[in-house]
Amino acid sequence: MSEVLRQGVNQESAHTEGHHNGNGLSFWEKWHRGESFFSKYVFSMDHKVIAKQFLLTGMFWGVMGGLLSLVFRLQLAYPDTPIPFFEVILGKWGEGGILDPNFYNSLITIHGTVLVFFVLTGGLSGTFANLLVPLQIGARDMASPFLNMLSYWTFFLASVIMFVSIFLPWGPAASGWTAYPPLSALKELPNMGIGMDLWLVSIVLFIISALFGGLNYVTTILNMRTKGMTMARLPLPVWGMFIASVLGLLSFPVLLAAGVLLLADRHLGTSFYLSEIFFNGQALPNYGGSPILYQHLFWFLGHPEVYIIIIPAMGLVSEVLAVNSRKPIFGYTAMVISMASIMFLSFLVWAHHMFVSGMNPFLGSMFMYMTLAIAIPSAVKVFNWLFTIWRGNLRLTPAMVFALGFVATFIIGGLGGIFLGNAVNDILLHDTYFVVGHFHVVMGVSALLAMFAAIYHWFPKMFGRMMNRTLGYIHFLFTIIPALLVFVPMHHMGMAGVPRRYYSFQSFDYLAQWQDINLFITTMAIIGFSGQLIFFYNFFYSIFRGKKPSSNNPWKATTLEWTTEEMAPGHGNWKGQVPTVYRWAYEYSPPYLKDTDYVPQHIPPEQIKKEPVKVSEPVE
């Protein structure tokens, strides 16, 4: 097969520059040639280096967000007991081992923000859109490598500002990740001063970074595909990134508008979101605004945001499932249409977050129907995944088990969404642990599992080595079991009326019975977090010491990223010509094949060794 792979690289537009000797060049010359240390690893314009930068930053925030959650989980497990350890790590916020209640609010705020934006948006689509879009469509880089670099460094700046805000003596933002006014608009409140400002600035920078990235991904996918790569032949991860990027381009600017108005309310004395507020016994001058306005603007992004997270995850999982089932993805067109209809519907459902904010019931029921309609394309996708693996020749690689885990948690979490999308149920379940459990399973855990699947699958492409399989399986078990044991009980707590975002439940008799469950959840959270250490060991060890892959196409996949001459290619991706594409990305186990069970996209039809198609006897 490997000779065929070589020959498949087409001969048109021959262009290879010899390797330039880097000695004797000035710093700037080296910079422009991409040969100095800085331009190769730091301010790199190579999409693969930028992908790794996004991944490492995302992993850093994953650890950070996880650690923050452990602190507040410990508080919930031992609400009355002083934990001296708190004073050691938190200083004045944990004086005498008692967690400061305002700081508890800050912890959940930063935990939510960094996981939603920095890990699951920046870390997940930032990494894999950068890595896979040019490689899978057959481009040498993004449409604008410079804008791509700018996108990462804006993200980095946003990260630094957020990180600094955590350590401020005045406390980080404490408004929850949604930053609802009037709470977030009053800078006199505890922990809502400069910490909140830095939070807003960081989010504004993050939005700009996401827009730069999105512009680039969409343009690259529309304009830079290699010869023969029609839109209908794109691998599904690319479709996922494309749809999520369009979604981001249309919805992130609206959050920016919400943030600008919020900043104006905080610092310019306007009253967009403020009206008739008494604070410390005095009436504030602000009049005429409405906090509901913020909710509308916020959720107009906020709801598409969960699809910006999950649609790329769906694309990545579809690819991993098809490769490791050795079967074409079931219903390719249906997959693309369902992703596109999720994108379309996601703009029409935002107010289902606001059923209890005071809404005309007629309007509420419209949003309810739209919300429940999203179940249709979601179910189409689940059906297609199940039929992709159905009677497939399954190879349970670590990536595959994580992808299967994604499908499972997506179903479990998605069912919770049907409860919440119904306005009547939502009035009871709103702001309870049911909501926390629901979105953690459907968008937190499942997107994280998809991200792990993608890391295990494309690790060789990034670092030229394989990750350890055994550790991968152990990591999987230590991830999915604790995750479900953490979040499934939360659904039950929510149905019993346990409210979310409470510092402790000691003052309410009817909540006392949940104390043991809280302790159990915390224990599971600690186990789950420790399980990630296995992953980190495996990840960093494998970068340097991992096994070399046996071939350049270790998973026997059809897509173009496995046709590069080197496992982890340099800038430009293909040393010779960019391959030409002759078919779709899912030619697995077609009946006409001899010797092998897949046809890569770049093999010309005449090079395929065919055998006459035998009509097989029906299986009893």
Binding site: H15, T16, E17, H19, H20, G22, R33, G34, E35, K40, A139, R140, D141, M142, A143, S144, P145, L147, L211, G214, L215, N216, V218, T219, L222, N223, M224, L249, L250, S251, F252, P253, V254, L256, A257, A258, V260, L261, A264, L268, G269, T270, S271, F272, P285, Y287, G288, G289, S290, L293, H296, L297, F300, E566, P569, G570, H571, G572, N573, K575
Partner: protein, 193 residues
């Protein structure tokens, strides 16, 4: 492998025009969404209690004419540029730049006139919205002025010539957009205030 691919353009020349134009169009789409968010917030808030209606001072009408004129000069510049009259084109780009600066100065005067009439940023929501939305538009104009300045200098140095018309087209596309955006906002305020 080091350096391979860096010497060759990432975007093939045949696709360059399409690619950068598409990128700018997508950027414009997201700016449109930003202003759509602001103006729809305005519409939602309209009709709530204490909504102050007021007339825009005459200066905003003059500004509208100025920025429309600037689009015209930039377009005339492009026509001169296309037949190789680089110095005329450069002069017209400078004129566009000057009109842009005049527009900003006019906006500043307009804001001051409003303030002296008692229509202030810290006032009711309808007053605040005008300042925030026109201010956000002014920020986009400043970006456009930077692009015009760069373009004028690039034409002077003959870096942008008939062999390389893309930069002119991109700057013009953005500037016309900023112009049309103001026209939309102005009409929007005229109707709703």
């Amino acid at each position: 492998m080091r350096g391979n691919g860096i010497q060759q353009p990432v975007v093939p020349p045949s696709k360059k025009y399409q690619t950068y134009k598409l990128m700018l169009i997508l950027g414009i789409v997201s700016i449109v969404m930003f202003f759509a968010g602001l103006t729809s917030a305005y519409i939602v808030q309209r009709g709530t209690k204490q909504w102050l209606s007021y007339d825009l001072p005459l200066i905003f009408w003059i500004n509208t004419i100025i920025i429309l004129l600037s689009s015209l000069t930039l377009h005339l510049g492009y026509r001169a540029f296309k037949i190789g009259h680089y110095s005329l084109a450069e002069a017209l780009v400078w004129l566009t730049f000057a009109l842009g600066v005049l527009f900003l100065a006019g906006q500043w005067i307009g804001w001051n006139q409003l303030t002296s009439q008692g229509i202030i940023l810290q006032g009711t929501v309808s007053e605040s919205f005008f300042y925030i939305i026109s201010g956000a538009h002014a920020v986009h104009v400043i970006g456009g002025l930077g692009a015009l300045l760069w373009l004028a200098l690039a034409i002077r140095k003959r870096k942008v010539t008939l062999r390389e018309v893309l930069p002119y087209q991109l700057v013009a596309m953005y500037w016309h957009f900023v112009d049309i955006l103001w026209l939309y906002l102005f009409v929007f305020f005229l109707i709703t205030l």
